[in-house]
Each structure stands twice: as structure tokens, then as C-alpha cells.
Symmetry: C2
Subunit: 326 residues, 2 copies
């Protein structure tokens, strides 16, 4: 089942999307918003699946051509985003570039930070920034939306509460990060709102590509029309989503609608390219001593999309332009 | 105007509360929930004030005795909590105890972290923790709820968007903090859900006690029936709420319902006592070399309340027992 939110109000309006992303139809008779559906999942899931099946077999009359431009994020505002950093190649590169080793405990204790969850950018929203001096970067990630997860859930229990999967662009202001992390309280101004893919899908929709709590598909990152990376999200992910959700739930329950991100997808195979510019710059520094690739400039366009083994887009594309705050 | 939420559903039901906290009445005919009211403030504020005035002059028939036990937090879940650390005495003490100076930039650059905003504990909810070994502590704070704040708002513009004021118990797991901060990503597992006072009040309700974006009243913190502190929230607050909200909005807009916390209230005058146990322990370490006061144990009860110049409770009391996760 594929779900999306039609732009409108504070929380959008729930839509079901055909699995080939050709058409969509309102699901508001079942649940007005995605947050409502998540809050009442046991009551609405079956009806949503019946509607989805009908849509996919051409039995729904009230359909429109699917249009990413009319999509908000699946959740245009959420009660919680916790973003992990499960691809340790990314962490190792960042540290290596500044001559630091990765602490061994990072192999079994996930990195995770609390991220802003309101506003959440639509897949085609501009990335509005005050200054290019902030070091504007994208980060291509996979994220899940959970149901209710009790405090202290095991990774297996946590994995069973994964309701939906999406793509995420964790926009980062790199040049604000060092001073902010030095203060000791983590990211804040350096992590402005993130964007999500137009479509969120149930795990079963991914078929064999969803295995062991990971999405085994490449994430295609295209900057100004040029592919800069296609790392596979199932490769080199140190912690699967069950582990990440359980980490988030260690000292708190998670409630329906919590979003947990994977961190920047990053493969050790350099041929896979990158899902953020910081990594390109770190590799340049390690290999040549000089970072030559700049961060994003006003007008730059980043496209993030995941392609299945049939060559089809699974979640629709995030495609955003960087613009100056007017 | 004083508002509260009656426990029920995911978001409670909006109530107006008499300014002496004697009675309350449903406001659901105006706005079903506080989040709805904040989302539609320009449309509902006048009607809420009319209802509040009627309640305070005894002209509302459908009243009940105000009952903190039936209160959820004013917002039982929120889209954002950002918690500052505006009382630098607290920061200085923590650093001094470990032999570190406070960086001079802390005088003009607020500390702030993104906190969990779902779930939010009711004022009488237990603080449920897995282990006393985590170092369970309370932190007495003031917090504000904002309307929409544009990105890059000045402190003055930000201050104008402060809709409501509450008390906050920022529960902290002290022994999880050092390892978590060492990872560089800030607090996560060390900051479980916070509780808020039963009542949120509009700034005008505070009269002369609301001045310069600060609440000039003492916060009474009582642990197991013994007053451990009564620091004045208007004293030694390095950054007022306008500055804190503007800091939060530097690289993102804030949307209606964002909660911004002050950080642990802390006065340089030692006679004022403390609003968290960590500070007692730091003072012991600085003065004697040994921390003798333990953190909270299962069964301990913390009460946090603010008293106005007439001796009346302004927000009602947060009163919570620490319990072991069953």
C-alpha cells in the first residue's frame, strides 16, 4: 500500500497512490489525515488496503493523475523525528578527514539525534536558506514511521511497529555544525527542516527489497542533473531499523507517527558515489588534502529517488531547489 | 486567560480555568483542543477570552471544580520542544564542578537542544524509569508556547508571538548524559519525556510579573515534602524568551504550538536553593569535594509550582512520583 498527503490545511489530506505511481485517489472517507490513520491504524488499515487494492485493479472511479507538486510530505508536521547515523562509512569519513579515529563503541551504540519535526518540507518545496555561507548540503536517507512502541522494546518488537517507509532529505548547514556541536547540546540551527518523498509505503510493498529491517535498493542522488551517487541502502547499514527504533525507545515510549531516519546512506564502495556533498569533500581531503567540491549554491537542484529492480520509482522523487530567503 | 486540557483521546479537550484555579469549564465549543486553538488563534482568541471572562465573573453554568488529576499537559503531544539553558549559573556550576571554565560566547549565544515532544507527561503522571542507576533528576523550568514565528525573526518579533506560558519539569537521566554528549549528537536517551503544569496562561494574566520576556516569580521546588529551592525565574536569566524563541527560529520558521523552554531556573544567590539535584551535587563537590545528595529514587515525589505575590498558585502544580518500569 502506498500513501501520500494532498497539500492542504496543516496536515494535508490522505490519499492512496497506485503502486506504479500513475494515479491517486482520496482516502479521506477512511481517515482524513495520515496522522489520524496512524493514530487509529488497527481500525483503518484494512479499509485503506481495500481502497488501495481497488485502485490498483482499476476499480476506483474518483482518480486523478498522481502529481508530486500537489503533495505535502506524507506527514507535513510530525510529533517526533529522531535521525540515526547507521552508515558508519559516513561517520568514518568525516572523522578521518579531521584525523580522528571512530570510537569502537560506535559499532554497537547507534548515533541518533532529535530533529525538528515541524515544519516538514514537501518533496518539491524550496530549501530556503539565509546565506550560502552556511554550507548548504543534502543528505539522502531512508526513514520509517512507527506505530506505538513501548519503552524498552526489543529490536524485534520495534521492527514489528514499522508502519511506513519513506525517503528523507536531511538538509544540513555544514558550516554551522562545528560551533554548534562544540557547545555540547547537539545539532539545532545546523539542521533546518527536512523533506520527505511524496509517497510512504508499507513494508510489504517493497517485497524482497525489505529484508532484515533494511531497504535493499539504490538511492539515486542527482545534483543539477548529474548523478552524484547511487549507494544501496541495504549495504553497510550497521544498524537495521528495528535496532534504530529500539534505540529511540530505550527511555521513552514512541507514539504513532514517530519518524526514525537512517542517517546518510553511504557505501564503502567508492564507485557507489555519495548521498551528501560533505562526503565528496572528505574524500577529496583524504586523497588530495584539498576539498574542491563546493556545498550547494542558490539555484542548485537536488533530486533523491529510489529505483526498484524493475527500474520504477518506489516513493516518487524528492526534488528541491535551494533559494535565498527573501 | 488560563487554559488547560482535560485528559482524553490523543490531544485532550480544551478547558478554560478560573484565574484562581477554583473551577473550570469546557471550551470545546470554541476549539476542541489546544493545538486547534493555536492553529486558529486569530479566529478563536476573542471567543476564548469572552468565555474566560464569563467564567471569572461567575456567569458560566457548566463549571466543575478544577482538578489537576484530570489534566493532561496543556499540549499532551506537541510538534516541537526546544529547550534552552538561559540561567548561566546552572551552566557555570556544572562546568566548575568538573574544573572547566564557561566559554565567553555562552554570554551571547544561547544553549538550546531539540527535545522529545511526544509523549508529554501530565502534571501528575509518574516518571517511569527502568533503573535508578540512570541518575534520575528533575529540572524546574518556565516554558512558552508560540504562534507562527517566521524564520529570522528578531527577538522583539519573536516575543510578540508568545501565546502561553507554563511550567516544565525537564526530567533528566544524569548518568546517561556524559556518554551521550561524548558521542557529539546531544541529548537523546538522557532526556525522557517532560511534564508540564496543568495550566497554561496568556502573558497578560501574569500582570507585572511578566516583564522583559521573563517571569519575575519564584519557582517552588519541593522534594518529598521538603522545599529544596525557590529561585526567581526573573533573576539571572541571561536570555529572555524573545531571545530564546528568536534563537530557535534562526534557520527555520516555528509553527503554532512550538514549545520553548528556559532551562533549569538557577539563581546565583545560594539562599534561593535549587531547581534540580545536579546543582546541589555540584555545589557539594565544589565546596567539599564530595557529592553526598543522591539523585531521585523510586517513590520520590517532586512538586514544582509558581506562587504569585498574593501567595496563589499561578499554573497549578506539577507533582510527580518516580516509579520503576513494570
Amino acid at each position: 500500500m502506498k500513501l501520500a498527503s494532498y497539500k492542504g490545511g496543516h496536515d494535508g489530506w490522505l490519499m492512496v497512490v497506485a503502486n506504479d505511481l500513475s494515479v491517486w485517489a482520496p482516502a479521506t472517507d477512511v481517515a482524513p489525515t495520515l496522522q489520524y490513520a496512524l493514530d487509529h491504524w488497527a481500525d483503518v488499515e484494512e479499509d485503506l488496503r481495500i481502497l488501495s487494492d481497488a485502485l490498483n485493479s482499476g476499480r476506483v472511479k474518483d482518480v486523478e493523475k498522481f502529481d508530486t507538486g500537489n503533495c505535502s510530505a506524507p506527514l507535513p508536521r510530525a510529533y517526533q523525528i529522531a535521525d540515526g547515523s547507521a552508515y558508519l562509512n559516513h561517520v568514518e569519513l568525516v572523522r578521518k578527514a579531521r584525523g580522528a579515529e571512530m570510537p569502537p563503541e560506535f559499532l554497537h551504540d547507534p548515533l541518533m539525534y532529535q530533529a525538528v519535526s515541524d515544519p516538514i518540507l514537501a518533496p518539491n518545496d524550496d530549501i530556503v536558506v539565509t546565506s550560502e555561507e552556511y554550507g548548504i548540503d543534502f543528505e539522502g536517507e531512508v526513514a520509517v514511521i512507527t506505530g506505538d512502541v513501548p519503552m524498552g522494546a526489543t529490536p524485534e518488537e520495534a521492527a514489528a511497529q514499522i508502519r511506513l517507509i519513506m525517503l528523507m532529505n536531511d538538509v544540513s548547514l555544514r558550516n554551522l555544525i562545528p560551533a554548534e556541536l562544540a557547545k555540547g547540546f547537539g545539532f539545532f540551527q545546523s539542521k533546518p527542516p527536512s523533506a520527505f518523498s511524496p509517497v510512504a509505503v508499507t513494508p510489504d510493498e517493497l517485497g524482497a527489497a525489505w529484508q532484515g529491517g533494511k531497504v535493499h535498493l539504490p538511492l539515486i542522488c542527482t545534483l543539477n542533473g548529474r548523478v552524484v551517487g547511487k549507494p544501496n541502502a541495504g549495504v553497510d547499514m550497521q544498524f537495521d531499523f528495528g535496532q534504530l527504533v529500539a534505540h529511540a525507545a530505550k527511555t521513552r515510549p514512541l507514539r504513532a507517527g514517530a519518524i526514525i531516519g537512517s542517517g546518510t546512506i553511504s557505501n564503502r564502495d567508492r564507485a557507489a558515489g555519495v548521498a551528501c556533498l560533505a562526503e565528496t569533500r572528505m574524500i577529496e581531503k583524504i586523497e588530495t588534502g584539498v576539498m574542491t567540491t563546493p556545498f550547494m549554491a542558490f539555484g542548485d537542484v537536488i533530486r533523491i529517488e529510489m529505483i526498484n529492480d524493475k527500474g520504477a520509482s518506489v516513493f516518487g522523487a524528492i526534488e528541491q531547489r535551494v533559494t535565498r530567503q527573501s
